[in-house]
């Protein structure tokens, strides 16, 4: 048997154009890494004056004064504001989202499809429109129907409900945030629940389980990691959300922004930036302080999202393994 001799691979134009193509594609892929490095570098170097001035006490201080000559900046109240509003939003939004995911993953496609689509449309509404709606519509009803009754019932005894219910406060902002994270959390939870092998569910049914018991026995234990990941992904959304919160949180500054009651105005890291960035003069410490706030915000957001991604992808990988077996 004579071997067929292949002609040597063509060099020249073919290889060069393919090489250029590969280099171009790689460059576009690496773009994201370059941007992250630039971003980190820019934020650190431009906020350097405030770290030089305050050191790490920038994070633990509660003062916020931009008046010339008496400048003093600390980011602690806004970290609190961000964490409290996001945590409240999670407490309201995550159970709702998991309920929605349960309903949609289980309903027949004809009902589940359109309902899932409607919930996803919530994600398409721009943040600033949530703010507008929250400010002029939601707030009015919310104050009359929820905040005032709560205040009248518990206001004197429990510090959580003290203060004047006015609608521009932590609770309103948190509820709007909760609505905004529902589409994210419910969509990911749905995917995660779909990843549970059908055999597991059938096994539970075969043991005589009701639908709820099936979820308890087969779905939740299997998808726990993924559901936690989905919730943390929602937390990441809530932490970075700007406009709706800025319009509803009441925009306190300094020590008064530390949340002392659900009905008090506060401030988050992103809202202080949105409110003050344009007025801040680059010559003073005000701008570096705001960029420092952005740096802290970015670090928190990255930490949250990295954890969430690792949890979700681990869960979805398990799914692939289960199918192959």
């Amino acid at each position: 048997m004579g071997k067929v001799k292949l002609p040597p691979p063509k060099t020249g134009s073919r290889l060069i154009s393919d090489k250029i193509f590969k280099i171009g594609a790689t460059a576009a892929g690496v773009y994201v890494l370059v941007m992250i490095v630039f971003l980190a570098f820019q934020l650190v170097s431009e906020s350097y004056p405030i770290w030089e001035e305050n050191g790490l006490s920038f994070i633990t201080k509660t003062e916020w004064n931009a008046v010339e000559g008496r400048e003093d900046f600390g980011v602690l109240p806004y970290i609190f504001g961000t964490l409290v509003t996001s945590a409240l939003a999670m407490a309201i939004g995550v159970p709702l989202s998991i309920g929605i995911a349960m309903f949609i993953s289980d309903a027949p496609a004809k009902i589940g499809g359109p309902l899932g689509f409607l919930v996803e449309l919530l994600a398409a509404v721009p943040s600033v429109i949530y703010g507008l709606w929250g400010l002029f519509v939601f707030r009015v009803y919310f104050v009359d129907w929820i905040e005032k009754p709560l205040h009248n019932a518990f206001g004197d005894n429990i510090w959580l409900f003290s203060g004047t219910p006015f609608g521009l406060d932590i609770l309103t902002a948190s509820v709007i945030l909760a609505i905004m994270i529902i589409p994210t959390v419910s969509a990911v939870s749905r995917e995660v629940m779909r990843a549970v092998p059908q055999q597991q569910k059938e096994a539970a049914y075969m043991l005589g389980a009701t639908k709820w018991e099936m979820f308890k026995l087969a779905v939740f234990p299997y998808s726990k990691t993924g559901l936690i990941g989905a919730s943390i992904l929602g937390l990441g959304r809530a932490v970075g959300e700007t406009m709706a919160v800025t319009m509803l949180i009441g925009n306190a500054t300094g020590i008064s922004a530390i949340p002392s009651s659900l009905f008090k105005p506060s401030q988050t890291m992103s809202s202080i930036i949105a409110n003050e960035f344009v007025e801040a003069s680059p010559a003073s410490l005000h701008l570096p302080a705001l960029i420092g706030v952005a740096l802290v915000l970015l670090l928190i957001a990255i930490a949250i999202n990295v954890v969430a991604h690792i949890l979700v992808t681990r869960m979805l990988k398990v799914k692939e393994g289960a199918i192959n077996n």
Partner: protein, 309 residues
């Protein structure tokens, strides 16, 4: 005999009690779960109703085309804001789409190495960066260096939000194309880039277009990064180097004013913005629904579309 009979009765009673309790719990959970869906859809319904009800009162030809009047007068319109939103969407797509598509091609066609893995991961993380931080980044990179607000800075900031989404969806849809297509191309002796552009992309076109349009609808509503890059203005676009207006910015500024007329204009702007964004969003989904040709909603939208014709 009698003992077994009695026992049987006893067991039966126990069983009934047990089952009825479990069935009640099951019913309750079903109701709660359904209530969750309703609770989530109420805000959507309320937002749409309020925006269209209040917005319709503000809409007129002058409102859509003229520059804003003096503050609080209730005169003028949002012409510059609509123009600005269209310009900023166009420019950021010009930057974001090619980068996103090429990055998606890299991840799908050359993506089985360590570098690609880390790019994929950071792409996902970058997608979740707070948009206001990206706005500050654009401010530091462009506005601070040029010394003035610039339309390019806004476009750059929005392109940063856009390109990871495009890259992600491009990768996903390119991966759906069977390997045999690529092998067929290789067997014909085509170059890799010809295979990618002529065969793979043309097969994956609809998925990519969906991703691009969804990313457009996402950036169209972004406000935070525009605050520190294009600032907002009440004049029509004149140059890349001066502040420009955009709909989300205009809505925000109007909502801060204590006048009823400003509030009305805010609702009007919100209606225009939501029509643009939900229009793109629903249009894309309709395209997909009609391709599959099923689903109540697909048919519903299809009917609506055919009525318009």
């Amino acid at each position: 005999m009698s003992t077994t009979q009695e026992r049987r009765q006893e067991y039966r009673a126990l069983f009934k009690q047990n089952v009825s309790k479990r069935l009640v719990v099951d019913k309750a959970v079903r109701i709660i779960v359904f209530a969750c869906v309703i609770v989530a859809i109420i805000p959507l319904g309320s937002i749409l109703v309020e925006v269209f009800k209040n917005g319709a009162a503000a809409i007129s030809y002058e409102f859509l085309t003229e520059v804003p009047g003096s503050i609080g007068s209730g005169e003028g319109g949002i012409g510059p804001a609509i123009q600005g939103t269209l310009i900023i969407i166009g420019l950021s797509s010009l930057i974001g789409v090619p980068i996103g598509v090429m990055s998606g091609i890299y991840l799908s066609e050359y993506g089985d190495n360590k570098l690609a893995k880390s790019i994929r991961f950071f792409n996902d993380v970058f997608m979740e960066f707070p948009s206001i931080v990206l706005g500050i980044f654009a401010f530091l990179m462009i506005v601070l260096i040029l010394g003035h607000f610039s339309v390019w800075a806004g476009a750059f900031a929005l392109s940063l939000i856009m390109f990871p989404i495009v890259a992600r969806t491009t990768e996903e849809s390119l991966k759906m194309v069977p390997v045999t297509y690529r092998e067929a191309g290789t067997a014909l002796g085509l170059k890799k880039w010809v295979i990618t552009f002529r065969i793979v992309i043309s097969a994956a076109k609809s998925g990519m277009i969906t991703g691009i349009l969804l990313s457009v609808s996402r950036i169209g509503g972004e406000t935070a990064p525009l605050i520190m890059t294009i600032l907002g203005s009440s004049q029509f676009f004149s140059s890349m180097d001066v502040p420009m207006d955009a709909l989300p910015l205009r809505i925000w500024r109007l909502s801060l004013l204590p006048y009823d007329s400003a509030q009305l204009q805010g609702w009007g702007s919100a209606m225009v913005l939501i029509i643009i964004i939900l229009g793109i969003n629903l249009g894309v989904r309709y395209y997909f629904a009609s391709k599959k040709g099923n689903g109540i909603l697909g048919q519903f939208i299809k009917k609506g579309a055919s009525n318009k014709k």
